[in-house]
């Protein structure tokens, strides 16, 4: 049995530059694969000699290969983003709760993403698209800084073809962008949600999730039908180091996917 304390060797099999600072890596096991992961879970990715960071899985669940979309914002993420096919990194996991808790069968599944937050939601979207008829509607609302910073842009058309309604908005753009310019909350009204039949999954900057969560509940969605993906300082991934606490929650174990009814009062306390 794999012990989650030790990194397992995975080899980069492909590398895709999503934007100027974001890369999607596909990893194949170089030895025994770790346990299959669920949508919403994360791995600790280790770059030799640099360090280890938590990264959500961003690919379809249930495969031996792992997909991770990484934004280069520090030493470790930069090293991971620079990893070329054939390079071996260390993987620990999977850790945390999954979007499966949302249990939205028969309902409208709404995915709201801010920036790179679309990456942890993608496994849930791909799983939903792979089960036609399981949900009434699949609606993706995604916001990003600018058109150049959209992730998975080459897939939006395929998602639409497979039955999802996909609406994208950016904070700023020039006239070459024919789509929406504005914040993602401004797309909610246009989505014509049925608040009693919608389950929402959200991931993005925490402020964006607080605000969008309020918009959704103001539109009539019960907070218990909204799920968000949270992050805090993660080090061990196994609920032993204490860093990832948010009030009573240990986010490596009780998150990252947390129900908004539980999370909202915690997020409202400054410096909790």
């Amino acid at each position: 049995m794999i012990d989650c304390r030790y990194p397992v060797r995975y080899r980069v099999s492909s590398r895709l530059e999503e934007t100027h600072d974001t890369v999607t890596l596909t990893l194949e096991p170089a030895e025994d694969p770790i346990a299959p992961c669920r949508p919403g879970q994360f791995m600790m990715l280790y770059s030799f000699g640099v360090g280890e960071i938590p990264i959500s899985v961003s690919g379809a669940p249930g495969q031996p290969a792992l997909t991770h979309t990484i934004r280069s914002v520090g030493a470790v993420s930069a090293a991971l983003c620079a990893a070329q096919p054939g390079h071996v990194i260390g993987v620990r996991g999977p850790f945390g709760t999954s979007w499966d808790h949302a249990d939205a069968a028969g309902r409208d599944l709404l995915l709201v993403a801010g920036g790179i937050g679309l990456a942890p939601l993608r496994p849930a979207l791909l799983a939903a698209l792979a089960q036609p008829g399981r949900y009434r509607r699949i609606i993706v609302l995604a916001g990003a800084r600018s058109p150049a910073e959209l992730v998975f842009a080459s897939e939006y058309g395929q998602w639409r073809e497979r039955g999802a309604s996909v609406d994208i908005t950016v904070d700023k753009a020039d006239a070459s962008w024919p789509g929406h310019v504005g914040v993602v909350t401004q797309l909610i009204g246009r989505a014509q949600l049925d608040p009693h039949l919608t389950t929402a999954l959200m991931c993005g900057p925490e402020v964006m999730m607080r605000i969008t969560g309020r918009e959704l509940t103001a539109a009539g969605l019960p907070a218990a039908r909204v799920w968000i993906s949270l992050e805090r300082n993660m080090q061990c991934g196994i609920a032993e180091c204490g860093h990832c606490q948010l009030g009573p929650l240990l986010l490596c174990r009780d998150g990252p996917v947390v129900n908004f009814e539980v999370a909202e009062p915690l997020l409202a306390v400054r410096e909790l």
Binding site: V73, G115, A144, A173, Q186, R190, V207, M208
Partner: protein, 160 residues
């Protein structure tokens, strides 16, 4: 073809207005269809109309020498277009162009103002809706200014 109060009622901006108010507004409204690429107004122009968008998408834009035209915000079905007419000197802050074919109700702002002056209750209701639109756009704009999607090293408010 003249606009009916009941048609206005189905637009998000006007919904909830009393039937009498809807009728009075409908009487000064007209239906318009605008082809993709049509400019509704230019920055600096006299702001003399407001629109209730029924279908399509309109971009508020700004020309900057040496750069591509910037999109300030896009508006769509259910949105109200036109706020600059409320404050002197009633000139458009930005331009507006239909990005796809647009259908909308258009109202002359002189007529709207006249209605509000003579019927303060209608004036109050319209003012509340316009204020609500302005607040929502202000809040969204403030969020965009915070640049929450920026990389942490570029973000305002980090301690490093």
């Amino acid at each position: 073809m003249s606009v009916l109060g009941s048609e206005l009622a189905s637009h998000r901006f006007a919904s909830g207005l009393a039937p009498g108010h809807l009728d009075r507004l409908a009487a000064i409204a007209s239906r318009i269809e605008v082809a993709a690429g049509t400019r509704l107004f230019d920055e600096g122009g006299q702001a003399t109309s407001m629109w209730l968008i029924r279908a399509g998408q309109i971009a508020l834009d700004l020309h900057i020498p040496g750069r591509n035209r910037l999109i300030v915000e896009t508006l769509g079905p259910g949105d109200e277009l036109g706020l600059s007419w409320l404050l002197p000197p009633a000139r458009w802050q930005f331009g507006a162009v239909a990005q796809v074919g647009v259908s909308a109700f258009e109202l002359g702002t002189a007529a709207v103002t006249g209605l509000c002056e003579s019927d303060h209750e209608l004036g109050y209701q319209l003012a509340r809706r316009l204020l609500g639109t302005a607040v929502a756009r202000l809040q969204a704009a403030r969020i965009r200014i915070l640049d929450l999607y920026a990389a942490p090293s570029h973000a305002v408010g980090g301690t490093s």
